[in-house]
């Protein structure tokens, strides 16, 4: 069990480093889409929520699971769609507008 925990910690620490590397390269121009987009990624909690809602072990847990699935889905769907909506608006030069 300790080995498993250690691997999880490894993954977490390395992912933090990847995150810092990748995100420091995002220009301030795109910081709002970065926030909404990364927000959508944090909706990954949906993966845990799905298993809980589908496991049907107790009514309480199913209710918690369904609410969690709904909230995470709002996060995922809303986040990705609104990010796309914003990114569509960023245009390069006056002449290639439209």
């Amino acid at each position: 069990m300790a080995g498993e925990l250690l691997i999880a910690v490894y993954v977490f620490v390395l992912a933090m480093f990847v995150g810092f590397e990748v995100i420091t390269k995002v220009p301030t121009l795109l910081h709002t889409p970065l926030m909404s987009g990364s927000n959508a990624i944090s909706g990954i909690a949906i993966v845990g929520a799905i298993v809980i809602a589908g496991r049907v072990d107790s009514p309480l847990n199913t209710i918690l699971g369904v609410i969690a699935v709904a909230m995470a889905t709002i996060n995922v769907v809303g986040g990705f769609l609104v990010t796309d909506r914003m990114l569509r608006m960023f245009k390069r030069a006056p002449d290639d507008r439209k």
């Binding site: 999880a8 990748v22 889409p33 926030m35 927000n39 990624i41 845990g48 918690l64 909230m71």
Partner: protein, 469 residues
Amino acid sequence: MNRASPFVGELIAIAYLVASVLFILGLKFLSSPRTARRGNVFAASGMLVAVVATLLDQAIISYMWIAVGILIGAILGGWLAVAVKMTAMPQMVALLNGFGGAASALVAAAEFFRIDATPEIALTTDVAVSVMLAMLIGAVTFTGSLVAFGKLQEVITGRAVTYPFQKSLNAILFLAAVAAAAWLVVSFEHPWVFLAFAGIALVLGVLLVIPIGGADMPVVISLLNSYSGMAGAAAGFVLRNNALIISGALVGASGIILTQIMCRAMNRSLTNVLFGAFGAQAGAAAAVTAGDRTVRSVSAEDVAVMLSFARSVIVVPGYGLAVAQAQHTVRELASLLEKKGVDVKYAIHPVAGRMPGHMNVLLAEADVPYTQLFEMDQINREFERADVALVVGANDVTNPAARTDPSSPLYGMPILDVDKAKNVVVIKRSMATGFAGIDNPLYYLENTSMLFGDAKKMLAALVTEVPNV
């Protein structure tokens, strides 16, 4: 997660790896506006892969409730994404942060109740600690984000709310939460203690955000963004799910970086933002210095002449521009000037909007090409050469006292060096102070002209006047 068939289990694990790679690539493509849209599609595909793979999990008995949750979430999320105004993006992100945090907290709670009800599951300390962390961070993110949403939406006061013993109360609550968590880690089977713990965490989220003033919301949203990632990572530790751990870490890192950038742009430490209750008594110091100095008020015609004969104009938009919904009018004015051969650029201060990068989105929405948008460090050298700096709805970020006056509360804050331009035109409703409630000496400079009035009306007046010059 119990995996009856090792094959399916491995398939799911590989799918999570693919999803994680797609998330990282997605964020990587955000480094340029040309590839950013593709990046978002990558990240969204990663999420789809992760969700589909999870549906194969053999612990799942019924799909009905999953479908119900996804359906409700997709409808609400889709509606939010289509309906939200670009000026309301900070609220939207705050709300989404809150939901993400809540989902992680609920996952942790469900795991607690499941482990609590199944004596056969051998509970390890690290899972117990992870459950507590996910619950705490998730709950704080949830209610904290709701308060941030309320402040930005102006449902509740944007002022910093303070009361006696505020910090002591928060400290006591925090210690109580830690104590409850420690108790639960030692002996897990106390549902009431867990509920009390969850309750304290929810209250803590509210109390931590109410003393923070509206002007500091960009920092708070960034920080809550980071928290929502951390809550996800903690939930990942609970479920031993690498996809959650990786995504949580990525989002956590992103939030931390944005928080740092925002703090630096406001020249404040994070501690000062969180506990300083900046802006609680705003307005008190305002009128003190305004008295005997003179301001030069000009008409729209004067400004139209000045702009038309300029070689280069730098527009400095602030949040006031967005409030007046004048982005499109400013874009119209810029097009007219460009036709006359004037070089137009936009200077964007990091805290020009109400969240990181907000002003860029608002201008992009008004069809301003992003090649004309310059961040502070790029544009500050150019003010000296600019004929006119046109300040619309920006105040504190142009305050030269930040550079020169050590007694000013803004001292040391990086600002746009608007005062160095040959001429400065400030469109402003009145001499009222900015968000921070601090007087701006820029308005009394010799090269500054004030065009008093509503931003949108004045810009519209300029749009009619410029062709007549």
